[in-house]
């Protein structure tokens, strides 16, 4: 479990300045660390061809989730200095459109915080879910002078169901003995657009609250019983900031960058845990025992993990198993492999949790399933 951290440290130790390290290595012509990465795309030789493909620039297009956008952009930029011949364009249009674009096959890869439903899988036979990082949905609120509010999932669900309408409700007060909860109306704020964030959030509420599962359910957009909507993360954030007594949910990086207070949520072990790098990774570890082969898994409300944050989620890159263009497929897999194995420190810098080694292992196995004209493209180095 500590291995991703080790990997990060090893990586950290290798670089004086990150950019300097990578550029310098690239200038040297042959990357020692990345060498293993590119051996994978060429089954005949483990060597990297220094003056790589002479097919000209390869351009790859992807669209989807906003949640991993900052880290994807950083990875793309860094990868450019490793492989200048590959130009990747990722656009954060939202998980909903990302899945649609992937199903319509108008992009080279899709991206989503919600895995494809069985119906959607039927439309894209052989769709692969490649997890990249783990993120968290932060529950943020606007109550001036009240730091460190703690809630259980049941209480949170009751607030979003409209059953708890005041912050001084005994159920909230009971969970916050260290605070004198104010007599203030609760305003719940949700995402009005189709979002993977909403999917993770409602998936969590449905797991911890039977009432939520029956009345509302799980989805990228649902019928909210009460509250009002904000457009995208920025809209939810703005609504929370402008509405005293409001509570909303956003991707973790938004609350971090803007500096809004976050709710510590109670996990299965009964501990109140705020979203952090460690607590998010521990949530993934809580599901290691029963990971499905295709990694289409929700990691909300983990059964194990003393300090696991319960509203965490994987985010996936969506790939087709059978592809047509060999050069593009190789480039894409090179990028994903590099990001998963060399890009974890960049992820940590941006408060994303890298995949635990066990998950990474299964992920690399999924990458090996990609074929062009029946031929396997990627073999993981030993």
């Amino acid at each position: 479990m500590a291995n991703p951290g080790d990997r990060a440290e090893r990586y950290l130790g290798q670089r004086t300045s990150r950019r300097g390290f990578i550029r310098g290595a690239a200038a040297a012509g042959l990357l020692v660390t990345a060498g293993t990465a590119f051996g994978g795309c060429d089954p005949d030789s483990a060597e990297v061809d220094p003056d790589a493909p002479d097919t000209g620039d390869i351009t790859l297009t992807g669209s989807g989730a906003t949640f991993p956008d900052p880290i994807y952009q950083l990875w793309i930029d860094e990868f450019r200095s490793v492989r200048p011949d590959i130009v990747i364009n990722y656009q954060s249009v939202g998980s909903g459109q990302g899945k649609r674009d992937f199903i319509n096959n108008v992009t080279d890869f899709g991206s989503s915080d919600a895995y494809l439903t069985d119906e959607e899988m039927a439309r894209v036979p052989g769709a692969l879910h490649i997890p990249t990082v783990i993120g968290a949905v932060a529950v943020t609120y606007n109550l001036e002078g009240f730091e460190g509010i703690q809630l259980s999932g049941e209480t949170l669900a009751s607030m979003y169901l409209g059953e708890i309408t005041n912050w001084s409700d005994p159920r909230i007060q009971e969970e916050n003995p260290h605070l004198e909860m104010p007599d203030h109306d609760v305003a719940t704020i949700f995402r009005s657009d189709g979002a993977g964030t909403t999917w993770i959030f409602t998936d969590y509420l449905a797991k911890v609250s039977d009432a939520w599962a029956e009345q509302v359910g799980t989805g990228t957009s649902v019928q909210w019983p009460v509250g009002f909507g904000g457009e995208k993360n920025a809209g939810v954030m703005a609504s929370v900031q402008q509405t005293p007594g409001s509570i909303g949910y956003v991707e973790l990086i938004y609350s971090l960058v803007i500096g809004m207070p976050v709710v510590a949520l109670r996990n299965r072990q009964g501990n109140y845990v705020p979203p952090t790098l460690e607590s998010v990774q521990e949530a993934a570890a809580g599901y290691l025992d029963d990971l499905p082969d295709d990694l289409r898994v929700s990691i909300t409300d983990p059964p194990e993990g003393e300090h696991a944050y319960p509203v965490s989620g994987l985010t996936w890159i969506l790939l087709r198993r059978e592809r047509e263009n060999r050069a593009e497929t190789e480039a894409l897999i090179d990028f994903i492999y590099w990001a998963l194995t060399e890009g974890d420190q960049l992820a940590v810098d941006l408060h994303y949790s890298p995949l635990p080694d066990e998950v990474l292992d299964i992920t690399l196995g999924l990458l090996e399933e990609v074929h062009v004209d029946g031929e396997q493209i990627f073999r993981r180095p030993d």
């Binding site: 364009n89 656009q91 319509n104 920025a234 810098d349």
Partner: protein
Amino acid sequence: MRPASTMRRYRRRTYINRFMLVLTVGSTGVALIPLVLILAYVFQQGIGAWDVQFFTESFRPVALGEDTVQTGGVLHAIVGTFIIVGVALLMAMPIGVMAGIYLAEYPANRSSTIIRFCTDVLTAMPSIVVGVTAYILIVQQTQRFSALAGSVALVVLMVPIITRTTEEMLRLVPDSSREAAIALGAPKWWTTLTVVIPMAFSGIVTGILLALARAAGETAPLLVTVLGNNNLAYNIFGPMQALPLLAYRYTEQPFAEMNEQAWGAALLLVIIVLITNISVWLATRRRQAG
């Protein structure tokens, strides 16, 4: 001496006249307030993002935990906007102008009535509908987002504007000019080309520029067709960035630097549209002087 009653009525009319004048001037002022407020606010918010980097560099990702935050610029969006709108203009101009000539210069019949009606319907068409149509017809068929699909969507929005202004301008050319040319033995096409069009030329240019200004600021049709691109791209068969698209997307980013760039892009867009409109004004003025 006029009778007192006449004087009284005259004075009343004067008062009403003054009252209505104040009302109309006041209304004009009220109508201008939003424009002034928008210009001032966009300028105030956006000017901070304008530095050399803003115009000379493309997107750079924001990295937390670095000492120096690299913000990059919007060069890729500036280039993209000019390419997308330029290609659209090249397609819309001949179609719009020729359709306008047909409507104005040839006798009204059933087909011209239908064309005029369709043009009016197209003018009122929500731009997102045009964008989605382009997505289904071009993006889904070619299986890729492309600047060209965005240009085609913009063409659909530009053509009706160009067609209707061209038609109106050609109608303003007095028939006596046409008759004079025909009397001298010029065939109809020669009359149209060398007499009618030159006389209406600045008016036609006005229509084209107005269409250009409309297209440059459109976000919705581009959203679903060109996708956006964080790299500097010149390939019209691939995804491309555009200023309105960049402004829209950057407002959703968590990073303050990118929010500021969104304002900077909005300011640049407003200024481009403003310059276009001032060109329209100059073109119109020359026509009146000539």
